[in-house]
């Protein structure tokens, strides 16, 4: 996370409209990838992404630099919107309605763009995961991506649950160090 993220939000709150556009452009791929990894649905990801940025625009004045990274703040909104959509069975458009944004159509080309954006964000992460030691990488993917239980992973890897936890923890720490931020 670079300090410019927080700067952009502060500048926007101070009246610099372009700062929010820059914030949007900077984080669009990451937010799209966030939803794609969790929903595997391009249209849903695009819809949720639009709502997240609208919500971020509304909430920006409440953002306090220094309390936590801007990206974590944005992911917090994303996670909330995702949980909300799963609970309600549809994507809320509360923030977009509040801003009087027009409904957007999405076509095949847009859907391909969703994949492209997600790919952009994932490319760096994939490379970082690939660079991990094999045991750390396997444990991390099994736990974080496949969401399998520690005990199950331990059985498969013929080691104790504690060892699996350590491998996952070390893998995450290595990724954080690589990106110099908390994910």
């Amino acid at each position: 996370m670079t300090a410019s993220d927080e700067d952009l939000l502060e500048r926007f709150v101070a009246g610099d409209v372009q700062a929010f556009v820059a914030f949007y452009r900077m984080h669009l791929p990451a937010v799209v990838a966030f939803f794609m990894r969790r929903t595997r649905d391009r249209e849903l990801s695009a819809d949720l992404t639009a709502e997240v940025f609208a919500a971020a625009l509304v909430a920006a004045p409440r953002f306090r630099a220094g309390e936590y990274p801007a990206r974590a703040w944005l992911y917090g909104i994303a996670a909330h919107k995702l949980a909300d959509s799963r609970r309600r069975g549809r994507v809320e458009d509360q923030a977009r309605r509040r801003l009087a944004l027009e409904p957007l159509m999405i076509d095949d080309e847009d859907l391909r763009r969703v994949e492209e954006l997600a790919g952009q964000a994932d490319a760096g992460l994939e490379a970082a995961v690939d660079a991990l030691p094999a045991q750390q990488r396997d444990a991390l993917l099994a736990r974080v991506v496949d969401e399998r239980a520690y005990s199950e992973i331990a059985t498969q890897m013929s080691c104790s649950e504690m060892v699996v936890r350590q491998r996952v923890s070390r893998g995450l720490r290595a990724l954080r160090a690589r990106f110099k931020e908390s994910v």
Binding site: F12, G15, V17, F20, Y24, A54, L104, M105, D107
Partner: protein
């Protein structure tokens, strides 16, 4: 053409501006509003000058809209034609997308009014027993060949705007996997006009009224874009009807396709499109007689190596598989080859 995220950006920009404006209005710096009121007419005058100067230019995206059409009512994803000529790309710059977003926002009320709403389109094509123009027949040998059994429901046949389909000349060009590619000649083709021409002045007036809400840096470009669109619409109003060709992909899920309404463009540049085939990695197109194979050349991108892939032409239609097509990437060059494999023409697609 991808628009969702660009339009979202434009909308967020507008909303951000509005909220920033509200904060300024509510705060102690209200004097800035006085400056804005003075500045807007100046900006308007500058914008108008720039727009008039650009009147002679033809909007690239608008040309392409005339060049390519899509079939409606199909369960398959619509095929997208990239453009009839290298001078009519469908792609527009991100800045133009933003400007288009503001244009659409401003003219929405006008075009939704009863007086300006686009006329209802008769989606059932007229089926004619007549013969297409000699010009069209002379460049597409498959149309001159014997009739083939046609398994397209006439109701779903292109084009959607009430033009005439020369039903006796519909041909099955080729079949790839479970997809059948038909060439459908169509005639009496008038360029698409999105709304009645009497509404041009109202569209302009609406945009002028919305200009203060548009970021200052985009006002001139946005106004220019609308003026160019209207100029192209007026030109289209004067156009003569012509024959064209549609490439229709029929899959077990349904049918969809795209059309090119210029025989000259077809002879000169052919077509290339994607989608509508039930799989997203097929690129298809129509080429004139004499072209026996095509080589599509893709330039390297951040995530893809440069690629050159060749496919044969059957029935004036090529079908080439390229995984990157699923990601919206198109070749930058198309090489036409004769029966001996010699390159007879290189069609550049500089916008791809």
């Amino acid at each position: 053409m991808s628009r969702f995220f660009e339009e979202l950006e434009a909308q967020l920009h507008g909303a951000a501006r509005e909220r920033a404006h509200s904060r300024v209005q509510a705060g102690p710096r209200g004097r800035r509003l006085g400056w804005l009121r003075t500045a807007v007419p100046v900006a308007l005058a500058l914008s108008t000058t720039a727009a008039v100067a650009a009147l002679a230019l033809v909007l690239l995206g608008h040309q392409a809209r005339q060049a390519g059409r899509q079939a409606g009512g199909s369960p398959s994803p619509p095929q997208v034609i990239l453009g009839g000529t290298p001078y009519a790309p469908l792609t527009v710059t991100p800045l133009q997308r933003q400007e288009l977003g503001y244009i659409h926002g401003a003219e929405r009320r006008v075009l939704n009014s009863a007086a300006c709403r686009p006329p209802a389109v008769n989606r059932t094509p007229l089926l004619s027993q007549r013969t297409p123009s000699a010009q069209l027949l002379s460049i597409l040998g498959v149309l001159r060949g014997p009739a083939t059994p046609v398994q397209i429901n006439p109701d779903s046949m292109l084009p959607p705007d009430g033009e005439t389909v020369y039903i006796r000349y519909v041909r099955l060009a080729r079949t790839v996997g479970r997809v059948s590619f038909y060439l459908v000649p169509a005639g009496h083709w008038l360029p698409i006009r999105s709304n009645p021409k009497r509404c041009y002045a109202q569209q302009l007036k609406a945009l002028h009224e919305a200009l203060p809400e548009i970021p200052a840096g985009l006002r001139a470009g946005t106004l220019t874009l609308l003026v160019r669109q209207i100029a192209a619409d007026r030109q289209a109003d004067r156009s003569q009807a012509t024959d064209g060709i549609c490439l229709q992909a029929v899959t077990p899920r349904g049918a969809s396709g795209s059309c090119l309404d210029s025989v000259a463009d077809l002879a000169g540049w052919g077509t290339i499109g994607a989608g509508g085939t039930g799989t997203s990695d097929l690129l298809t197109g129509v080429v004139p007689d004499g072209v026996k194979s095509v080589t599509l050349r893709f330039k390297a991108t951040k995530h893809w190596r440069a690629l050159s892939v060749t496919g044969d032409v059957v029935g004036n239609v090529f079908v080439v598989r390229a995984a990157r097509a699923a990601y919206g990437l198109f070749p930058t060059k198309i090489l036409w080859r004769d029966a001996g494999g010699r390159v007879v023409k290189i069609v550049g697609l500089p916008w791809a």
